[in-house]
């Protein structure tokens, strides 16, 4: 895939400092690349082509090599996401306990399907493999907060808490 670089951007001092800590823990620079992606995503919300290019340069690897890593992992976002990412567990225990009803309700309320972001940028809805809380299925995670034993009629109140 061709990496499309519009204009070079710089790592902030804070990002650089955090990435340098990770580089210090591994035998060679590029071994810190996943941590670097996490750090930049934490600060910027997602990994743009420009960010990818900059991180790759800093770690002395090609953008293509870094992109092959970035696109492998489910939670490295290579497209912009909303302010709050909803990760709805669609794995087997949640399937048995009715995650599909939750999904229908979310679609109706937010007017988006899996992989989409609301027009106001408030939510991105993603499917997610097992959240490891199968005894309290169905479950979802919104902006790092876990919700368990979900029912469709709880969703309005839960979503209202996220601006």
């Amino acid at each position: 895939m061709k990496i499309n670089v519009m204009s070079p951007i710089l790592l902030t001092a804070e990002e650089k400092e955090e990435i340098d800590v990770e580089i210090g823990l591994v035998p060679y620079r590029k071994a810190a690349c996943i941590e670097a992606l996490k750090i930049v995503q934490h600060h910027r919300g997602w990994i743009s082509d420009e960010s990818l290019h900059t991180i790759a340069g800093y770690l002395e690897m090609s953008p293509e090599e870094l992109d092959s890593v970035a696109t492998f992992y489910n939670l490295v976002f290579r497209k912009p996401v909303g302010r709050n990412v909803i990760l709805l567990c669609d794995s087997i225990s949640c399937y048995v306990m009715g995650y599909e009803k939750i999904y229908e309700q979310l679609k109706a309320r937010l007017h988006i399907s899996f992989g989409e972001t609301t027009t106001d940028g408030r939510f991105t809805l993603l499917p997610n493999a097992c959240l490891g809380t199968c005894d309290h299925a169905p479950a979802c995670m919104i902006h790092h907060e876990l919700y368990r034993d979900l029912t469709a009629d709880q969703l309005d109140e839960i979503l209202d808490a996220y601006k």
Binding site: E35, I92, A129, G132, T133
Partner: protein
């Protein structure tokens, strides 16, 4: 009945801090191992206890450690806690990590001492935010108390510990894929041999153990191999964290002696099926195990007995299929997961799993054909053990092959009625 792993876990109060944990006997195994035992004695004791790996494979833990070369040709060695729990239906390590993080850290220190590793990692799945917070705090406390860092308890032994949180991919739980992930690569599995015990993380000798396995170590060191064997009346030593999810009255987790029956787990601990639902089958140990059905109710849940019944104990966390959930839809959900999570490294898995998923989806949508059953059956063979690079695809075939065996009439119904009878 002794429950060493969960004795100090109480969901109604926060996890113990280091001082309270020490007051309850915590870190005694570190004192004992480091001050009065040789690394070889620790390994021998764990091997004699017959502790089998609790991540699913069930290999003797002490024996695994014994493959690490101890002649000091490689001064750098690694000990890794595999806390990437992401097998659908499996939720046991979360309890251990959130309930008592010091217990695993203690187990890691003793395990690292046994192989003389000086660097240890916890590879934690990203979704376990609470566990990450607790582990970070517990690691800091352990450093401050002299259990980690340089010259532990004045012994001259050094150990660093780092927490690595993943970025989401099921394959990271595979031992060698996990090493690639830690090295900042795509998490594709590696060829074995060389085994990680010889050449693992950054090419150095490495041991990867599951969270529950590591949590057993302090108790074995403190109480001995015979005590550990005595915890269970069955053929496998120790206790096990068993779990049940699905339409049962009381889904949850319980620490029980190895070898309790499926009946006891479902009917007593999980409180039986919810009103209006009948038991149809269960995956005894997570998404990649074969179904057990009604006739297996008295099968003992230990590695040997479950294997004899045609399945695997796996992680010991059971997913129940009830009579009002479509078995084809159930298996489709599983194959969808495995197809998504295939790392794509080898062709049978990369191509075969999406094909399998599409056939099952077509059946659910009323477009199944009679020949699809042969196609599915073919996949269970071609994606089976020995035909793929790692165990992901063979694991994916386990629920499918057993569903074709036990629920064939449900597949036939989909094809003949040209619809899903449950929708």
């Amino acid at each position: 009945m002794e429950t060493p792993l969960t004795r100090l876990i109480n969901s109604n109060r926060p996890a113990l801090n280091l001082k309270d944990y020490e007051r309850e006997g915590g870190y005694q195994s570190v004192h004992k191992a480091i001050k009065s035992m040789t690394p070889a004695e620790v390994t021998k004791l764990v091997q004699d206890s017959d502790l089998k790996g609790r991540g699913g494979a069930g290999f003797n833990t002490g024996m695994k450690w014994s493959f690490v070369p101890m002649n000091n040709t490689s001064p750098t060695k690694y000990l890794i806690a595999n806390a990437d729990e992401m097998e659908p239906g499996t939720f046991k390590d979360r309890l251990l990590l959130e309930g008592n993080p010091h217990q695993m850290i203690e187990g890691m220190i003793v395990s690292a001492f046994a192989i003389q590793a000086n660097i240890s990692y916890i590879f934690l799945r990203w979704a376990y935010k609470k566990a990450a917070r607790l582990l970070r705090h517990a690691i800091d406390e352990a450093y401050a108390a002299g259990y980690l860092g340089r010259d532990i308890l004045g012994s001259g032994y050094n150990l660093e510990m780092y927490l690595h949180t993943g970025v989401g991919r099921y394959i990271c739980g595979e031992e060698t894929a996990l090493l690639n992930a830690l090295e900042g690569k795509r998490a594709t599995p590696r060829t074995k041999p060389p085994f990680p015990q010889i050449s693992g993380l950054f090419g150095k000798p490495t041991i990867v153990n599951n969270v529950e396995t590591l949590c057993n170590i302090p108790h074995i060191i403190n109480n001995g191999a015979d005590w550990f064997k005595g915890l269970s009346p069955g053929s496998d030593a120790g206790t096990k964290l068993y779990g049940v999810s699905g339409r049962v009255n009381n889904p949850g987790l319980w620490e029980l002696p190895m070898g309790i029956t499926m009946r006891e787990l479902i009917e007593v601990h999980a409180g039986g099926m919810k009103n209006g639902y009948q038991f149809k089958g269960a995956l005894p140990g997570g998404a990649s195990t074969d179904f057990l059905v009604n006739k297996h109710m008295d099968v003992k849940l230990d590695f040997k007995s479950v294997a004899a019944a045609g399945s695997r104990l796996g992680t010991g966390t059971m997913i129940v299929l009830d009579d009002q959930t479509c078995p084809v839809g159930f298996v489709h959900n599983l194959e969808h997961f495995f197809a998504q999570e295939s790392c794509g490294w080898c062709t049978p898995c990369r191509e075969g799993l999406p094909w399998t998923e599409k056939i099952l989806l077509a059946m659910e949508n009323g477009k199944g054909r009679a020949e699809d059953l042969q196609l599915l059956d073919m996949h269970t063979k071609y994606l089976g053990p020995g035909n793929t690079f790692c165990a992901l695809a063979p694991g994916a075939m386990e629920p499918l092959q057993s569903a074709l065996k036990y629920f064939k009439e449900d597949f036939d119904k989909h094809i003949n009625e040209k619809k899903c009878p449950w929708r």
